[in-house]
Structure formats: C-alpha cells, structure tokens
Symmetry: C2
Subunit: 370 residues, 2 copies
C-alpha cells in the first residue's frame, strides 16, 4: 500500500492521525466501566453534532444498516410513505420500502437537482395516509444538498415523520435536527466523521420514539428499542466495534473543538474553490444545489471519465470517485469534507489537470482510425 | 488506557501486532482493484477456515447480524424451526425466530450441558414440517461445545437445513462445514479470528442457497443474495469496513500458516491446562462437554464472583468475563483461543489465585456482623 495515496472520494476520506493511533491500540472489553465511559461520551457528543436533544444510537454496520433501521423501526406492512428521490441513495429508500412491504410514493427529481419542498406539500395534501417522508441531506451520487429545513416546515404539524439520511452531509452541510423538525436522522462513520466505515448512527426524536413502540415490521439486530434499553444502562445490545467507537469519541472531540459552524464554513468555501477550479479546467458542474461535502462534475467533451479516474489512481496516486448509474464514465466526484485540506485539493486538482493534458497528447499521438 | 491490560475474555481477545499495524494504516477506497484483491483473498481464505467449498460472505455488523442473516435468508413467515438451546446464544435464535414470525420448537438443555443429538432425531420424526435446525458450535455463555457432526448426520438426507453459529468456536473447536453437512455457518471477527468486533461471516452451502432464492422473509441490508451478486463481481453490496477486511486477510494468513489442526490442538491443550489449574484452585468446572475456546467455572463457595472479576480488572489489570443470566456473580469465563498464550493464562491464573487470597484475608479481617 502506498502511504502517499491521496483519497479524495466522498467516503471514505483520510483518517486523522489521532484516529489511526487509537485504532492500533490494544482492545479492552466492552462490558467494563472503561467502555461505558467511552459510549456515554460518544452518545453525548453525537447529540451535539446532530444538533438534537434526542438519543443517538451507535450501530455496527454500513450506512445502509442505518437507513434500514430508520425504516423498519417506524412502520408497519402496507404503510404509505413518500420518498424524495434525488439519486442513487434516494432509490435505496424506495428499494428498502419495497423489500419491507411498504407502499412508497416517489417524487423523482432528475439527477443533479434538489427536490422542491412545495412538491412535498402537494403530495401531503393529496395523500392523507402518508406516514413518513424519506430524504437525503446530501445525495452522494450527484453532490446536491436538499432543503431539509423547508421540508421540515411543511411536515411540522402533520404527524408525518421526517426521516433524513445525513450520512454524506453531516458535519459538511449545515444540519439542525431539532430546529428543522427532523424526526429520525442517520449518519455513517466514513464520511465527514473521518472514521473507517463500519458504524452507523441513528437519532430518534420523541415523535418517532412513540411510533417506534407500535411499529409492526419485524426486526431484531436493527431493533432500536434494544439500543434504547441498553443505552439507558450505558451499554450496547450487541458487541460493539470497540476500536471504532473509541475512535469516534476522539474524532467527535476534534469536531466539537473546531466547532460545527467553522467546519460548515470551511467545507462550503472549499467546495466553492473546487467548483471554480474545475470550471476553469473545462468541467461542467453537475449539482444545481451543490453540497459542501462533495462536488460532482462532467468530464470535458471527448474525455473518458473512467479512464481519467484509473490514470489518476494508478499514475498519480489520487483516488476520486466516478459517476454512478447512468452517469458512469461521465462524472468525477471529489470530496471536500472532513479531514481534506486545501492542500490536498490543490494536489488533486493539479493531478487532474496534468492527466487531462497527458490524455489529450496521447489522443493526438494516436493515428486517426476513421 | 493501560497497555498492560490482559484480556482473557471470550471475545474480544488480544489483537496480534500485525493486525494492529494494519488497522492504523491509511485507508484506500473500496471500489478499487486494490480492495477487490483483498476481498478475493479474504473470501478464499475464509473457505479454508470454514472447511467448505461454499462461498463465505463478509458483512459489516456484530455476530448477531450474522445470526439474523442466517435466519432471514432461508425462511418464510410461519416456518417451523428447531432451536437447540444450550444457553444465551441458543435463546437468541429463538428470539430471532419469534421476531420474524417463525414457529420455533426448542430443545432446552440445562446450562452447562451439550445437546443430545438423539433428541434431534426424535423431533425430526415427530414434526415433518421442520425447515431448519439452529445450533451453536460453542455456546459462549456456558463454555460447552456441541456435537455438530452428529446432528449433521441426523439431518443429512432430511431436507432440513443445519444452521450453525460457529462465532465463538471457529478456529478453536474443530469445525468441518462440508464434511459435517452444515448448510449455513456463521462466524464473528472478535473471537478466535483475533480481530476487533465489527465483521460477521456467513457461509452458504448449495442446499441453503436454493432455499435462499425462495425465502419470503423481508430483508435488505442482510439480504445475502445481494452479497452473492456483488461477490461474483469481486465487490461488496454496501461500503465494507475496509480496515477490518484488510486486517482479516492478514489474520487468516496467520491462521492458515499455523494450520487449523495445530490451532485446534493448541486450544484444546490450553483448555485442559486451565481446567486443571482452576480445579486445583477450588473452582468447580461448569461445562460437561468443554469447548476449546473458553472455560467457565463456578467460583469457590463464599466468593462473590462479580467482586472477583472487578478486583482482577481494577487491581491486577486482568479482564475475565462473568456468568450470564442466572449465573451472574457465580461463574468466571476465561478464553484460551486465538492469540492467548500459555504465558497469558499463567499470568491470569496467578492473578486469580492472589485475588482469592486477598479476598479471603479481607473477609477474615472484617468483624463478624452477626
């Protein structure tokens, strides 16, 4: 493994040094006062990061485990729900709803656009059976940020739960769980929380907590009532990923020391900088409402996006993400959240510039075939 | 954190140095040839460790996520299943079955005993509706090892699936998935696999794979069809815990280099040694069919087991596990699997001896109250 590899993907992102140190420390057991102190600290700090008074549960699993927990704990078979689908992770909520026998309605927005909160109001009036609305804060496949606050205003007094996947957006885009009337929020460890993948976090506000007690969908490992009961005793219901939870405590300390407002501002400014530079280099920006977590951009005409990404990774040691779904080979996606600095971005952008130049020259050098 | 802490609990156990080194390395992205190579290697090595030709899937989650995957992927609502309940983790299968609307029959054995395979034959004849039998290889709450081979012989030609939780036993007790006709086997990272908690592994033999395609229970994150399809392309369906998977590759290499037969032999001999020493120190052994992974023993008369464990941890830096359920405060549980050496065990046993002596002296020093 090349330690000089520059990771600019929208999750995972580079691990801060103190996190790497903790991950290599000897383990201690999880049913001890020592671990309970760590879990209590993580849980308290997560509340500050989610901007909520509600409990935040720590689960061993990928972000999708968090999305599934946010669905199975609050619904019964046949429930009508509304999915705001702005890309690949919006689609995942629909797939989850279908897998569990819910009746999802979908507001599907062209990739690259955010959802119009007024459409949510219309659907809400048209279907009084709706139980919940699912949406992304930041949609990683397109780099947009949705207006969660406005959707929260629409749903506030409706009894309809607002369930937000903040996996990619948390600690990059502003997010205010309580102020915006969000009922359930999900985060993952490998985005702006600067940890390896393997932890999902789910926050449950009081209205959702009531729904949780009567929800009929089957669940066990992801049953948040078990996490709730265990956390009241300072525990987790199942063996937790001890090293990751310890590392989470450290990284949350770093985040709260820098202050969320400063982190949001920094990520936004880095995003503006990346978009400016990519624009100058001939990339067309994809997201109409750009997130502060990542930027997605169309590669210039006549450039093979997949090849660009492979060359960057193999020849320059710079890892970017490509487009997903129909945009495979046409987009690059570049993160500017968490531990990623302006120096990292400059290095990445310079590598992109050089590689484009090299690809252009090699195209010129090839004999015309037609 | 005190690096001199000696961890003798039946999961987690101490991490080998090369594992700790890998955990602290910078991350690389999971959708790269680099990660695909690691996943391919882990998957191939897991087959050797499970002793199977069947695919073994790697999931982000605790062992219980693996147990749930082994249930939801092979059943439909109302299916009759038989649970061989030899302790806390046997009970968990029954709870899982009930949570998903199956009809579990239970053979409940007193804690400390293994299940009699002949009872399985009787139940099989009595109930032709049975779809599966769930059992533990090693039951961590009591330290017994079950005769999986004999149960496999009973079920072999019956069409009833044999689903084995080998979380605590794998790489300590002998386990032969294919030879013993096991259809689904589960492992976890934090036992004899010597990794931090956070990974579950599920192996699916052909007969179970057929059942998987028609099973009706709802599932998404734990849907093994997604892992199967992704693994065929060299991928995982969801973002994997990259560092843990890399560490798994290293640890599996260490295990296969030592050879499973040697590891089983070593763990068995260490278990015999521990039982001999504990017996001499006045502990009564709990398990009638002792596992090579751990030993459970009753603390001597008049000793408060919970206090013994607290004193050991706080004053001697030795962490043991106590009894679970009705045996809380009455048992100690001590692992002798994986990275735990005879020197570690000697140190732990000496600390137990000293602490018992100190507790006895302090009892004598107290004025009689009655």
């Amino acid at each position: 493994m090349n330690p000089d590899t520059l990771l600019l993907t929208p999750g995972p992102i580079p691990l801060p040094e103190p996190v790497r140190d903790i991950l290599s420390e000897p383990l201690f057991h999880h049913r001890t006062p020592q671990f309970r102190a760590v879990l209590a600290s993580v849980s308290a700090r997560l509340k500050q990061v989610f901007r909520t008074e509600a409990p935040v549960y720590t689960l061993a699993g990928s972000g999708t485990a968090g999305m599934e927990a946010a669905l199975v704990n609050f619904h019964s078979t046949g429930d009508a729900v509304l999915v705001l689908d702005t890309g690949k992770f919006g689609e995942r909520f629909t797939e989850l709803a279908e897998a569990y026998g819910l009746k999802p309605e979908v507001i599907k927005v062209p990739w690259g656009q955010a959802v119009d909160p007024e459409l949510v109001r219309e659907r809400l009036l048209a279907n009084p059976q709706l139980k919940s609305v699912f949406m992304q804060l930041c949609e990683t496949s397109t780099g947009i940020v949705n207006d969660v606050e406005a959707v929260g205003r629409v749903l506030k007094d409706s009894g309809v739960l607002l369930i937000v996947d903040a996996i990619a957006g948390l600690c990059a885009d502003r997010f205010e769980m309580d102020l915006w009337h969000v009922d359930v929020a999900i985060a993952g460890s490998q985005k702006a929380l600067m940890l390896p993948p393997g932890l999902a976090f789910v926050a449950v506000a009081p209205r959702a907590s009531l729904r949780m007690q009567e929800a009929g969908l089957p669940r066990y490992y992801l049953d948040l009532r078990r996490y709730e009961a265990a956390l009241k005793k300072g525990d987790t219901p199942f063996t937790p990923p001890i090293s990751l939870v310890r590392a989470a405590d450290k990284v949350l300390e770093l985040i709260l020391t820098e202050r969320l407002e400063n982190i949001w501002w920094r990520s936004r400014r880095l995003g503006e900088y990346v978009r400016l530079r990519l624009n100058e280099m001939g990339f067309k920006l994809f997201a109409q409402a750009p997130s502060s977590a990542l930027t997605a951009a169309f590669v210039p005409e006549a450039v093979d996006g997949s090849r660009l990404i492979t060359c960057l990774r193999e020849e320059k040691g710079v890892t970017l993400a490509g487009g997903q779904g129909a945009f495979k080979g046409r987009l690059i996606r570049l993160a500017h959240m968490g531990s990623i600095t302006i120096h990292d971005l400059d290095e990445g952008l310079r590598a992109i510039e050089e590689t484009l130049e090299e690809m252009k020259n090699s195209r010129k050098a090839e004999p015309a075939l037609s």
